[in-house]
């Protein structure tokens, strides 16, 4: 088995308001191995972005890791100074942000922002860096790279910004790439080219990728393993095929059922009933219990913890065994 490069254990992240504080992410843990693509899917607002920012130690001022550990190649990250983190960021761990347009500095050209990333970590000349940047732009399928190189972010389309962010993240061949919805603004052809590119790089450099996405199609194409998050907790984690073919957790099953396929011909699409409970009135037990079709009394009171239903397939549900056995009826 290949080496674990990123290990997150018992991670809890809390936001402090003026008077109150609430846990946006609670007690989550996962591992990312070398050369692996770990997909994270989950409910919008479940804490995916926050988790990935926590890995890079980039939480906003009003948020903090209150518990748990994040280790990179065995090194605990949470204790690192800002200086040491700076060295890791970009080179060892890179990130593609969800809102690509706002994540680019509006007053510098796209080109200078890519070269900056390169020059921060590598001691090469400006010209070389520019050449590299142009190559990167081309590799992310940007037409007319020289023009885009000299453009400012606001002159680009949403998809172009997104690809620029990808180029920046890839610029220093990091060991871990955290990609927060990297292809939402890309059309299918470009998307598949980008995914191919990621896979290719990953194969060549055995980079580990943490791929956050809502597109189960993308997951099915590239991910090795998948984590499903709901309301700040991990509901289920497993290999891609296992998860897509044999989802256990009711939330995962709900998600997969909600998936819109080309041949879906429903007037009203399926979606999981109900809404995410309020952070304040979060049930003591399983967080999905308020919406779960299979809910039992116990679910509301106790936290189910993690149950392994098969090797590598972890589920946070009291009824997982019944479900696997097909005993639980919705």
């Amino acid at each position: 088995m290949s080496e674990v490069i990123l290990k997150v254990e018992g991670l809890t992240i809390a936001f402090r308001n003026r008077k109150e504080s609430f846990k946006a992410v609670e007690n989550i843990g996962f591992e990312l191995k070398k050369g692996e693509i770990l997909g994270i899917v989950g409910e919008s607002g479940s804490g995916k972005t926050i988790t990935s920012k926590a890995i890079l130690n980039l939480l906003p001022d009003n948020a903090g890791v209150t518990d748990g550990s994040i280790s990179f190649l065995g090194r605990e990250l949470s204790g690192l100074s800002e200086k040491e983190m700076e060295k890791l960021r970009g080179t060892e761990i890179a990130m593609i942000f969800q809102d690509s347009k706002m994540s680019l500095d509006q007053v510098y050209t796209v080109g200078s922002q890519i070269t900056e990333a390169i020059l921060t970590h590598e001691d090469i000349t400006r010209d070389e860096a520019k050449k590299r940047a142009l190559t990167l732009l081309e590799s992310v399928r940007i037409p007319n790279a020289p023009r885009v190189f000299d453009s400012y972010p606001f002159e680009l389309s949403g998809g172009m910004c997104q690809r620029v962010m990808i180029a920046i993240a890839l610029s220093c061949s990091p060991k871990i790439l955290i990609a927060d919805e990297p292809t939402t603004a890309l059309d299918v052809t470009v998307q598949s080219q980008i995914l191919d590119l990621l896979k290719e790089i990953q194969r060549a450099t055995s980079m580990g990728i943490l791929l956050i996405t809502h597109d189960l199609g993308v997951i099915s194409e590239v991910a090795d393993r998948v984590i499903v998050m709901y309301a700040g907790k991990i509901m289920e984690s497993s290999t891609k095929t296992e998860l897509l073919e044999n989802p256990v957790h009711p939330y995962t099953r709900g998600l997969i059922r909600s998936m819109l396929k080309m041949d879906t011909d429903l007037e009203v699409l399926y979606s999981i009933d109900g809404v995410v409970p309020d952070i304040k009135s979060m049930p003591e037990g399983c967080r999905f219990s308020t919406r779960c079709p299979l809910v039992m009394e116990r679910c509301r009171k106790e936290d189910p913890g993690i149950i392994s239903v098969s090797p590598g397939h972890l589920v946070s549900c009291f009824r997982s065994v019944e479900i696997v056995r097909g005993e639980a009826l919705e």
Partner: protein, 330 residues
Amino acid sequence: MSEVLYEIDNLTKYFKIRPKLFSGEKKVIHAVDKVSFSILKGETFGLVGESGCGKSTLSRTILRLEKADSGSVLYKGTDILSMDQKELRSHRKKLRMVFQQPYDSLNPRESVKDIISAPLRLHTQMGSQEREKEVLRLMDLVGLSARYINRYPHEFSGGQRQRIGIARAIAADPELIICDEPVSALDVSIQSQVLNLLKGIQKEFGLTYMFISHNLAVVKHMSDRIGVMYLGKLIEIAPKGSLYLRPLHPYTQLLMSAIPEVKVKNPSGYRPITGELPNPSDPPKGCRLCGRCPYEFERCRESSPELKEVEPGHLVACFLHPGKEETSNG
């Protein structure tokens, strides 16, 4: 046939770019190039196309957020592009847009309540309590907890921001909503919920949508008719059934075949398109697809094909598909 709401005729938008501040070298980007189509009342007009082909620009130009270089946008017969500020303002009462990058479109200094109630304040006679109730209702519709009502945009996740944008767009009974990637950041369950919502209110209030998305399944689900853009040009317009079943333009065919989940369903054995999207500031002289098109012949390189109706309601701009009249003549 139902009433034409918008008649877009030869709409053109060029961006001038100045690569360097002091160099006189001027280039233009043909972001929207002589685009003509119409949107019928109560329908959903889908718009797909390669990233950077001008979809966002087209919608912004229709809204007069960008000044068109030429062409006209007729709303029930009156040209929007020549309206004065006052007329425009009253016209905009009926218009909404869901922006592609949600965060950028939310005023950082307004709370969610202010943001969503803006159209209510403008276009309805509601009192402030009523308004608050309505805001809460809208938030609930898009799956946002009522507790968030006083939060500011930066305190939300990507998907939540997108939902704020949608809630604002459906407030105060609009007539047309231009949705630019409205569900890209949403998990599939909420995505379904939102799509159901959009369809629901369309049915209820006879809303019209222009729906831009890269997710072809979503577009298919939502749209009645779909337009395909390539490099600033509209190359194919068809009712969704006909477009998905029998795409005529080589580029559309490519697009269809690249849908991730729809594995190798290649009924007519399309030849794949190769190569990159050409430079939008220096597009090919003839057909925009020249250089990439497997069927390319002499004429394609010399003149650019016009949109022609080849089947009832199915228009395509390709010399392979001469229009109805031409066929009958020739």
